[in-house]
Symmetry: C2
Subunit: 199 residues, 2 copies
């Protein structure tokens, strides 16, 4: 039992952390920030309370780590979605659809919970702020690339940013009323505007 080292501690640690963070994201999306008690997380993750507190001494530690976890998850999802993007005339509309899909996922809901929680929690804000700024920049760069537009042209940068903010706004509205039809109509027209204004 001692010479045959089957499971290195590093892997065990990573697996344990991943389970905890996945559970945290799930609960954030399902029950919100306040509803995500550390006890629930340990239960959902199938991890003992002691083990949880070993990896994340306080709830803030757990949640901050979950933000980073969310970031990676969002990055992966974006890359995957970008790869499956069709070429052709409707490309702008497809890019918008992809962005909209991104922000209607549970991952966005979890992130939203963190943004709002961070608004009134300095500690959290200190961790979430820089992270979101980084993600924002990456998303902007990716969007410019996907849309294949020339950012040196005046106004283009602002319109791309407006597009991302619009999508966020639509996602926010979606959390309460949830009518996809309205969103689709708006994005249809927005795509047309972008086609005219960006070229």
């Amino acid at each position: 039992m001692s010479q045959a080292t089957r499971v290195p501690q590093e892997q065990r640690t990573r697996a344990m952390r991943t389970r905890l963070l996945d559970a945290t994201v799930e609960l954030l999306a399902e029950r919100g920030f306040a509803g995500t008690s550390t006890t629930l997380v340990s239960q959902r993750a199938g991890v003992s309370r002691g083990a949880q507190l070993h990896h994340f001494p306080a709830k803030n530690d757990l949640v901050v780590a979950a933000v980073e976890h969310i970031t990676e998850a969002r990055g992966e999802a974006l890359k995957e979605a970008a790869g499956a993007l069709p070429e052709g005339g409707q490309r702008t509309r497809h890019v918008l659809a992809m962005l909209a899909e991104q922000v209607t996922s549970p991952v966005f809901a979890a992130a939203l919970e963190l943004w709002v929680a961070a608004r009134t929690d300095e500690q959290l804000a200190a961790a979430v702020g820089p992270l979101e700024q980084r993600i924002g920049r990456e998303l902007h760069r990716a969007t410019v690339e996907l849309l294949d537009v020339d950012e040196s042209k005046p106004g283009v940068r602002e319109l791309v940013q407006a597009t991302l903010d619009l999508v966020r706004g639509l996602a926010l509205a979606d959390t309460i009323t949830d009518d996809a039809a309205r969103r689709e109509r708006i994005l249809d027209h927005w795509a047309e505007v972008l086609e005219r204004e960006l070229r």
Copy 2:
């Protein structure tokens, strides 16, 4: 003391409720939904716990009423701002500035807290959903009027809605990063686009 009825109960009731709801909105903006304990509200309002529980038996009752209170407050603010709106060439840009100002106020922060809380609270959602839909319609109508555009023209309706969602998105981004400069630049360009697209 008994024949001179100075303060009717109806007024007293209304004053008491107003104080409680104002305090609730303040605390929602300052401390978030979870941080808004009913005890804090009664303290902030200068109202005894018993009086508070007389008017609002449970926290949900208080918060739902606060939503309605927020609605009225937003309506008033909108009317005031609309009255002070300058005429002339830059009108579109001024309307955008007005909308942006609306959603960067503490009232918006309080509303945001409620939206997010309602996302994982059925009871709250049942009260917040219809209310927000009503406000949304009113705001849309007011914006169409302020921008003085023809809604029968195809695409106009969607662009106005997109504008409102964009502003919401900007407001959401503002709660974490708070850079007004970026917002102004985006709205500058969006105003130009709207001028071209809506006419």
